[in-house]
């Protein structure tokens, strides 16, 4: 029971002390200078269970009188630099900007200013309150309209700059403000037109560069600006013509490559550029011929390979490649003995009857499948290769 008694006794004593000296025990901080007169009278501002409401404030501070008269009713000296905005405020909004118990100085008891509370007409006229805070630079001297068109009400920065607000003569003279930002490269140093011809006002990139604006010799010498972008491969290193002969000014690809521009030996040696493109099958690996023998410079397929140059595939000979070319690694070899018509014994017999001793390379005499297609060549040494 002892702790309970101690609790009751101490609670009663404490409650009595709090009631007698609330300004000592409960006061969270000194009142501002103007409120010092009732520092012992908490209920002057605080309503029991109702907080410190605006009603208590405006009982002394009439909103329409703020800045005009003091609480005693005496007129204040006129100060033209001050805007009397309290008159248009909501009567219940005092505590939105003001508090107390922060010390003697009234400014310590100011909360963040809420522009939303100010009357709309005054809110649109920023300069009426902030007249001494407008920056005196070229940009702001030229800017027309309201500050709030670019700046927020809570912070000066970041600002949403709208170039349309600038006076006409300045809006075309970008470098008047952006002089330090002008790139010092070939493209920009020689440029005489306004930045706005290529760049937007919101972002520097992407830009819509019109190559036709680059005048004279410079216009043909792409490399004077795009030197670093020139590919270091065989095709481009040896190229002497202007980039514009193959590439457009809008995109690098697709390019319109004209093989006829390659002069002399280089033009015939496709493989010097297309080494990596060469197929690794038996047909292409063994070939010593120029690619152009079978392929055109416009497209790889269809190729222009003419099998009839060696043997015409007509009649019963419209067969698949592997019927005759049994080794895919060696397309130069072939055999005619895979059909029942052409058995080694019958072929040997027929040719001996004709007195032909060398009949191993069939296509040497037979350029197609017709019976009479062969022509006699004595003393040949055909071996089945062509």
């Amino acid at each position: 029971m002892k702790p309970l008694l101690a609790f009751i006794a101490s609670t009663v004593i404490l409650a009595a002390l709090v009631l007698a000296f609330p300004h000592v025990l409960l006061n969270p901080g000194p009142l501002m200078q103007g409120h010092q007169g009732f520092r012992k009278d908490c209920l002057r501002c605080h309503k029991p269970l109702g907080g410190a409401g605006a009603l208590q404030c405006i009982s002394c501070h009439k909103p329409a009188d703020i800045g005009v008269r003091n609480v005693a009713g005496d007129f204040l000296a006129v100060d033209s630099s001050k805007v009397l905005f309290h008159g248009g405020l909501d009567n219940a909004s005092c505590s939105a900007c003001h508090t107390d118990h922060r010390g003697i100085g009234a400014k310590k008891a100011l909360r963040t200013f809420r522009h939303e509370s100010v009357a709309p007409t005054l809110r649109r006229d920023c300069i009426s309150c902030h007249r001494n805070r407008k920056p005196n630079d070229l940009l702001h001297r030229s800017a027309q309209g309201n500050c709030a068109d670019c700046h927020g009400m809570k912070k000066w920065k970041p600002a949403m700059f709208v170039h349309d607000k600038l006076q006409a003569d300045l809006s075309k003279n970008c470098t008047a403000c952006h002089k330090a930002e002008r790139p010092n490269d070939n493209v920009h140093v020689n440029m005489t037109v306004s930045c706005g011809e290529c760049h937007g006002t919101k972002r520097w990139k992407p830009a819509t560069f019109d190559h036709s604006r680059v005048s004279g010799a410079t216009g043909k010498q792409c490399i004077s600006c795009h030197k670093a972008e020139r590919p270091n491969d065989n095709v481009h290193v040896n190229m002497t013509v202007s980039c514009g002969e193959c590439h457009g000014t809008k995109r690098w690809k697709p390019a319109t490559f004209d093989h006829s521009r390659f002069s002399g030996a280089t033009g015939k040696q496709c493989i010097s550029c297309h080494k990596a493109d060469r197929p690794s099958d038996g047909l292409h690996i063994g070939s010593q011929a120029s690619c152009a023998t079978c392929h055109s410079t416009r497209r790889w397929t269809p190729s222009t390979f003419d099998h009839s140059r060696y043997f015409r595939l007509d009649g019963d000979h419209r067969a698949s490649c592997r019927t005759c070319h049994t080794d895919p690694a060696k397309y130069k070899t072939y055999t005619c003995y895979n059909c029942h018509e052409h058995s080694p014994a019958s072929i040997a017999s027929e040719h001996r009857e004709e007195g032909i001793a060398n009949y191993r390379n069939c296509v040497r005499c037979h350029r197609d499948g017709s019976e009479g297609g062969g022509y006699r060549e004595r003393g040949g040494s055909g071996d089945g290769d062509d």
Binding site: A6, F7, T11, L25, L26, N27, H46, L49, G51, A52
Partner: protein, 192 residues
């Protein structure tokens, strides 16, 4: 040196108290940095709930609560007291400077320190009882023995009596300060 009684019993309790202060300072800094200091206002309420829960131990000893081991309630008393104190400390960091709540905060820290001393004394008593039980050839641990009401009374009266005579009045006064603080806040608060 690490085997000494002082190190084994006193060091963890001293560390617990230091950690309490460190955690409160860290939380206060974090809340202010994140512009969430307003949370501190509500930690006063939750902290008070935790401290109130720690009184379950007294209720169990007074047999107002019939079930549950006293050891469990003692652990709850210590843990809820620690967490509640932490929350109230953070709550105190929202820069209200009235005398009464700051007195309550200061006394709360003294009471928490006193609680840690009480834990130290209890551990010491348990160790002595265990040793005497071994000397007398009694099997079992001191924890089990503490469950016995007769044993608990003797421990309370003889070994912890002097400590309780200091601890409990402070707790009573802290309770008074807390209640008057809560009532004064409620009185000045705008309930509408």
């Amino acid at each position: 040196m690490w085997q000494s009684v002082l190190i084994q019993r006193a060091l963890p309790l001293a560390a617990s108290y230091a950690l309490l202060i460190l955690a409160a300072l860290s939380l206060d800094v974090l809340l202010h940095a994140a512009h969430l200091a307003w949370i501190g206002r509500y930690l006063g309420l939750t902290g008070t709930v935790f401290l109130a829960a720690s009184f379950g131990y007294s209720a169990r000893k007074q047999k107002m609560i019939k079930s549950g081991t006293v050891r469990l309630f003692l652990r709850m008393h210590c843990n809820a007291g620690w967490v509640g104190t932490l929350m109230i400390l953070v709550h105190s960091g929202i820069h209200f400077n009235a005398v009464l709540p700051w007195t309550a905060t200061a006394l709360m820290m003294v009471v928490t320190a006193s609680g840690h001393v009480g834990q130290y004394l209890l551990k010491k008593v348990k160790a002595e009882v265990t040793m005497k039980m071994k000397q007398l050839g009694i099997e079992g641990s001191a924890d089990d023995a503490i469950e016995q009401q007769r044993f608990w009374d003797s421990v309370t009266v003889r070994a912890l009596g002097r400590w309780r005579s200091v601890h409990m009045p402070m707790v009573s006064f802290l309770l008074s300060l807390t209640i008057v603080h809560i009532l004064s806040i409620a009185f000045f608060l705008n309930w509408r």
